[in-house]
Amino acid sequence: MTQLFGRNADRKLRRGAALVVVLAVSVLLFGYFRVRSDSYWHVGIAREQPVPFNHKLHVQGLKMECGYCHTGATSMAGAGMPSAQNCLTCHSEIWRGVPALEPLHTSAELGTPIPWNSVIWFPDHARFHHGSHIAAGVACSTCHGDVGAMTETSAAVRLTMDFCVDCHEDAMAETGARGSAVTALPAAAFLQRKGSASPAAEGMDPPASHQDGRSLTDCSVCHY
């Protein structure tokens, strides 16, 4: 009877099986690392913006503070983007007539918004409040990185849920379960140890905190 399979069939089968296993494991590992990779979270990837805004020039060069443009950060949920009027306080004279600044004038004239492209954002199912973070002593650079040094704005951290929860867990551990009083900044010591700046150093005037000693790892803190 003729052989059904060649002499090396066994070896080929075993190698094939090994290959399948290796492939499966690689796919899993690849997936694991990919969803934690910088590129997946757009870290360091700038996006095309309607106006080529240069943070480095304005922050490090001109010593403008975050709160000058992003006025909502100290107290509101969204930090906000400056309106065209805000930019035109200077740019109606400075760099007048430059085509790159044209969208500012269009926006001011027509009352339409400037379509900035977000480089860091929350999904719809999670909520973030800038004000309560400033109140807690979290500096802008903790999550946004050293934006002042960026000529093109990009994300600086991988904004996974893990990233947020890490801090929320540790912040509470610093102060213990029945947290601090209204005026204390529970996360301050922790952040200092991490090497982060404080909001005051970035020119932000933190408001009072109203967390009242609750656990920051309650799901409804961000998901409601």
């Binding site: 997946y40 979270w41 757009h42 996006r47 107290s75 509101m76 949920a77 969204g78 930090a79 906000g80 983007m81 918004p113 379509p115 900035w116 492209n117 977000s118 480089v119 954002w121 929350f122 999904p123 719809d124 199912h125 999670a126 909520r127 973030f128 409040h129 800038h130 004000g131 309560s132 109140a135 379960a177 029945r178 947290g179 408001p207 009072a208 905190s209 109203h210 967390q211 009242d212 000693g213 609750r214 656990s215 309650d218 799901c219 409804s220 803190v221 998901h223 409601y224």
Partner: protein, 846 residues
């Protein structure tokens, strides 16, 4: 009162699914097709969910894009006034980016509570069928055409011009009407409304016992919130021990009757007689009524004629009307049937109608003028001796008119006269002193009772409806889906009868009967209502509309039998037909495994009852809890609609409600108490209990429902995969599931949604959250404390108290320590944070 009275929910067997029982496969196949078809037509939500693994970058603020959490400005609240049936109601309206998202009562004028209808009026602003352009003979016209037509009329002197307007307390309208009448001496102005509101509850000082003859002041109507607050105050608060007695004589069970210390079920003829006697005569003695301090007589028993409609219709039929101008209202639908207004309208030379959407009257209009929303205009209203102001909340680019504008045009003035106070602001002077104006509110003195001569036999009783009132709100989905407080019927009405009447006529729930009265005939399904007087057939008004957006063809039009002579009680005959159509009721939904969920307690027991409760120590400083006082709850359901408005709760439609899938997070359970034929009524609002040892938490395989450090049972929508095992384990049945993509299938305009509350997708569980978004707003510093839940804010009698149990001085902590406090299903030892205060009842009284 026997406190071991049994509580029961409904007489009926599985009538709702009677049709399904006969042809289950067909019924389901039909449903399946429609759902499938809808899905095939639209995008598949399932695939959309799968695509969530791809991270889509957002784009930063385009202000036009409504409601991403981080992008909107803080909500701004405005004080304004809404007018319902000519009664001004002071409200606070919360707006986001200029769009109104929530209406509540103004606490400066009372408790800050509101009614279900007031809460639901928010949707009127977003009604997709609101007219945006004038229509001339059915075709869109320019606003200038309207101005031209009105100016032409203004020059004519008013010959053959008849103006019909609903009653109003809007001073601008009243003044403009005067000016128009002066400018057009030959014109005639008529006033008409199908239902005039019940007078507000106003106890005379020192009155300790009140007899209410058919006056349903706690029932639906513009004065409901005001009356409920006044009643609660009169009755005394939680700790108050004043002895008050309310006697109610009625023929159909109402909310007022439910809170009576003694309720008398009388036939209409007896009611009229009692009213004639003033509550102190032979009949009163025979019924065993003591002498009371005050007698209130209901509007239905008073002489209130058809108003000015008779002369108008007569003029129409004589051909004297060249121009008929209808400034709001819907007479073609709700005018007395014997007048046949719709046909009479055709006799007019031309008809101009002011309406906000297409309705039956607008259908007969030569010129249809879009009406401005109440939230879009300035105004000044008279309320007793006070003035209430209204301001616009949003600008609008659409040209719409208000009644006073039109009257002013007719009067020949180019500009609308400013309200007095605006003038005063400009001139920096205010002329004090009142002015002669329309008559003050009707007082109880000098009430003339109808002299209906009701023959023997069945009497047809017309009732305003708790959801649609007189039909004006038939196109409001929140109100259509809101269960009637007593019958718990949704999406339609039914002819209710007493069990004895049903027995005599051989009827059961769902039988279609032919009701004939004064030579007219309609068909309606039957619903047996315990507590109704025998020999009566009660039919709520406001349904069966032909042109009402999504409210079209829902329910039975009772106006077809309502005549000018017998607007409230009419002799009728009833004949059973072969048909069956079971009305949809939620009374048997969400059953609890408890014999006496709604408790009553006498004062004697109250003194003896020890009060204790257990509280787990969670780590947060605040421990949220809620106490619902069953002694104050009147069942008005304002809290239900407030919760729906605040939390973006979807409307699911009649078929889904029939399946028990209604989405109201807060439901009001109505229990009949005692005798099957003439029982008492108990109301019990049931939100999530936020149990300290919640049984729903450990059974979720992915941990989508967990406990917070402040005592909340959290529902985490993005984590839920929809196993629904939490719903199985909730003994209170407070959890609601998104069986379909309800938000997508019945979409609301995005601007009307509350941006602080996530919109849930298909396959996700949801439930009452103790308004966690409001708690978070205070934690984040966006709002000032104290935290008030939407239901607490809406309740006119302040029956719901929410707050921090860890603060011993808080209202909620004090109420919890009351001897009347108990937990629902307490035997399960779940330590719910939501507890109840038993309803008080007098010792020895029924």
């Amino acid at each position: 009162m026997d406190r071991t009275d049994r509580l029961w929910r409904g007489l009926s067997e599985s009538e709702e699914l009677a049709v399904q029982r006969e042809f289950p496969m067909l019924a389901e196949a039909a449903r399946l097709d429609r759902r499938l078809a809808m899905k095939l037509l639209g995008a598949s939500a399932a695939l959309a969910a799968a695509a969530a693994c791809e991270r889509k970058p957002g784009s930063k603020p385009s202000a036009a894009r409504g409601t991403h959490f981080g992008d909107y400005a803080r909500p701004v609240t405005y004080a304004t006034t809404l007018e319902q049936s000519g009664v001004p109601i002071p409200v606070l309206v919360e707006t986001v980016n200029g769009w109104p998202i929530k209406i509540d009562g103004n606490p400066a004028w009372g408790t800050g509570g509101s009614s279900a209808i007031t809460q639901a009026q928010l949707l009127d602003f977003y009604n997709p069928l609101r007219l945006t352009r004038p229509l001339l003979r059915g075709k869109p016209a320019r606003p200038a055409a309207v101005e031209e037509a009105l100016s032409r009329l203004a020059r004519g002197g008013g010959r053959g011009v008849h103006i019909l307007r609903p009653p109003t307390s809007n001073i601008a309208v009243l003044r403009a009407a005067e000016r128009a009448a002066a400018a057009l001496p030959d014109a005639q102005i008529h006033e008409w409304a199908p239902i005039l509101p019940e007078a507000p509850f106003d106890p005379a000082p020192g009155s300790r016992s009140i007899l209410c003859i058919g006056a349903d002041f706690l029932g639906p109507g513009p004065h409901q919130a005001e009356s409920a607050a006044a009643w609660a105050a009169w009755r005394g608060g939680s700790d108050d021990r004043r002895h008050r007695q309310l006697f109610v004589a009625e023929c159909v069970p109402t909310l007022t009757g439910a809170r009576a210390d003694r309720r008398l079920r009388l036939a209409p003829r007896d009611l009229l007689q009692l009213a004639h006697e003033g509550g102190r005569g032979a009949l009163a003695r025979r019924l065993g009524l003591p002498d009371v301090d005050q007698v209130l007589i209901g509007r239905e028993l008073q002489d209130d004629g058809a108003g000015d409609l008779l002369p108008l219709v007569a003029a129409l039929r004589r051909g004297e009307v060249e121009t008929l101008i209808v400034l709001g209202g819907n007479p073609a639908y709700d005018a007395p049937a014997d007048l046949d207004f719709a046909a009479a309208m055709k006799h007019a030379g031309s008809v101009i109608v002011l309406a906000d959407t297409l309705n039956e009257t607008a259908g007969g209009a030569g010129m249809l003028i879009p009406e401005a929303s109440q939230l879009e205009r300035w105004g000044e209203y008279r309320r007793g001796g006070n003035r209430l102001l209204s301001q616009p909340l949003a600008g609008t680019k659409v040209r719409r008119w208000s009644a006073e504008e039109i009257l002013d045009r007719l009067a020949g003035t180019a500009e609308t006269a400013q309200p007095a106070w605006m003038k005063a602001v400009h001139e920096q002077a205010f002329a004090a002193g009142g002015e002669s104006g329309a008559a003050a509110d009707a007082t109880e003195t000098g009430v003339s009772v109808r002299s209906d001569d009701l023959p023997d036999g069945l009497i047809l009783v017309f009732r305003p409806d708790a959801s649609v009132w007189d039909g004006a709100h038939a196109d409001n989905p929140w109100l259509q889906e809101l269960p009637d407080p007593i019958s718990k019927l949704v999406w339609g009405n039914a002819a209710t009868v007493a069990s004895s009447t049903a027995g005599t006529l051989g009827l059961e729930n769902g039988d279609i009967v032919a009701i004939e009265s004064a030579g007219r005939r309609i068909e309606a399904p039957i619903w047996v209502l315990p507590g109704q007087a025998g020999g009566t057939v009660a039919l709520p008004l406001g349904y069966g509309r032909a042109v009402a957006g999504l409210g079209s063809d829902i329910g039975i039009n009772a106006y077809r039998l309502r005549t000018a002579r017998h607007p409230w009680y009419a002799p009728c005959t009833v004949a059973k037909t072969e048909g069956r159509a079971v009305p949809i009721s939620t009374e048997l939904h969400h059953p609890l495994a408890e014999d006496v969920p709604a408790r009553r307690m006498s004062r004697r027991d109250e003194a003896e009852q020890p009060a204790f409760y257990r509280q787990q120590s969670e780590s947060g400083q605040h421990q949220w809890g809620m106490v619902i006082d069953l002694d104050a709850c009147i069942g008005c359901s304002a809290c239900t609609v407030a919760c729906q408005a605040e939390n973006n709760i979807p409307v699911v439609g009649p078929e889904e409600v029939a399946r028990g899938r209604e989405m109201h997070w807060l439901r009001i359970d109505r229990y009949w108490r005692g005798d099957t034929d003439d029982p008492g009524i108990d109301f019990m609002p049931v939100p999530c209990m936020h149990c300290e040892t919640a049984p729903c938490e450990p059974v979720c395989p992915v941990g989508a429902t967990v406990h917070s450090s402040e005592g909340l049972n959290q529902m985490v929508y993005p984590r839920c995969i929809g196993t629904r095992t939490c719903a199985n384990n909730c003994p209170y049945k407070v959890r609601r599931f998104n069986w379909f993509d309800y938000q997508e299938e019945a979409p609301r305009s995005e601007q009307s949604l509350n941006p602080r509350v996530s919109v849930r997708e298909r396959g996700v569980m949801e439930k009452c959250t103790y308004c966690v978004q409001r708690i978070e707003a205070v934690h984040a510093g966006d709002k000032e404390g104290p935290v008030r839940t939407a239901c607490q804010q809406a309740c006119p009698t302040e029956a719901i108290t929410f707050g921090d149990l860890a603060d011993p001085d808080s209202d909620v902590a004090r109420k919890r320590a009351s001897p009347r406090n108990y937990a629902l299903l307490g035997g399960l030892n779940l330590a719910p944070r939501t507890t109840y205060l038993a309803r008080r009842e007098e010792d020895g009284d029924g």
